[in-house]
Symmetry: C2
Subunit: 219 residues, 2 copies
């Protein structure tokens, strides 16, 4: 299991971790966990794409993250989830009940350290996100998202210079603090400027990664 959670773990320790894991399969659009509910488990997607969001009673929502294989959801020492998560595409997910996971982490210092480091990575990503939304204009926010997605492309497929975006324009808009129309216009802007092309709406091919990275810079 190639995962940040298993860094420096002995094989026997990974076995212990897997022994208490459950496997769950979700259809596209299924809820994985709900904001405000008891934080009773942690999750690791094995495949597919997922979305994390927070919504208010007013109906507004902020998309917090787009997840995929190797990301984590649900790590928390508070007893309620701070957000909801659902699948964008059919997904297989590993699930650890909190009542089993955290006691095991108590006995395996390396696992505990890994949890801490993952939490730190999450914070780091949210700070980047905050900077992008607070300081950038529409097309630069989109560049930020595209750069984030590009960073997640495996080495093996980087030569295609492209990413897949399994989410809808409205999801991207709610991630970037824009409407779906402005998001669509931001795509057009980057297309007109020659930075990208979009063979279809869910795929983006990069033509100028340097310029894209400049736009996406978050300090």
């Amino acid at each position: 299991m190639a995962s940040d959670l298993c860094v420096d773990l002995l094989d026997s320790e990974v076995d212990q971790l897997l022994a208490i894991a459950q496997i769950r399969d979700f259809d596209a659009g299924s809820q994985i966990l709900a904001q405000g509910r008891e934080a009773d488990a942690v999750y690791l997607p094995l495949n597919g794409h997922q979305l994390v969001e927070r919504s208010a009673e007013s109906g507004q929502r902020q998309v917090l993250a787009f997840l995929q294989r190797g990301d984590y959801i649900g790590f928390s020492t508070s007893n309620r989830f701070l957000y909801s998560a659902h699948t964008l595409t059919a997904s297989r997910v590993l699930r650890w009940p909190a009542g089993r996971f955290y006691p095991l982490a108590e006995t395996l210092p390396t696992l505990r350290d890994n949890v801490g480091r993952i939490s730190n990575q999450v914070l780091s990503k949210v700070l980047d996100h905050l900077f992008a939304i607070g300081q950038k204009r529409a097309h630069a926010r989109l560049a930020f998202l595209l750069w984030q997605q590009w960073q997640r492309v495996p080495e093996a497929t980087r030569d295609q210079m492209a990413v897949d975006l399994p989410m809808r324009r409205a999801d991207i808009g709610d991630y970037l603090g824009l409407t779906l129309e402005t998001t669509s216009r931001a795509f057009s802007r980057l297309r007109d400027d020659g930075l990208i092309s979009t063979p279809h709406s869910q795929r983006v091919v990069f033509h100028d990664l340097t310029a894209l990275r400049e736009l996406a810079e978050v300090g």
Copy 2:
């Protein structure tokens, strides 16, 4: 020492913690820690006000937090600071060298848990912030900040229905993703709507906390 870091600690354990702490005094406007530098210590302000920010080479900056007594800066398992921090007013700060703090946390499980819980509180606050910047308009973002500050007012002085804002309008603007002019207009808007009054520019008196909380809602 009334602090989240000491929750459930034995007196003897608090003594151990204090034994490895340093006291540092900063003038107003002094840098406490710098983005990108080695994360060699954690800090706890004892008094005064502090500001945390991230800046990009482009000159843009995003203010990440306004701190005061009881907040923490520098907790991180990465080896570089993700942000800078400086004082807004003269401050006395407790400082723990990382090389002493983390080993102690290894021997005191309660302390370790407290660090984890504090990190979680930080994440929770940043998610609120992200929602406010991503989804709200200028005057509602300001209401969000004012509500945050109000939550920090000690019970003993709540009857004054007021908060002090030791930072400048430009700082508030960079916190809310607005210019200082728009920030000033947001103050005027809340004033005109009868929600607040400002005896002087650094003090806000609340006239309708219910309406303010509605505006500030972040899910």
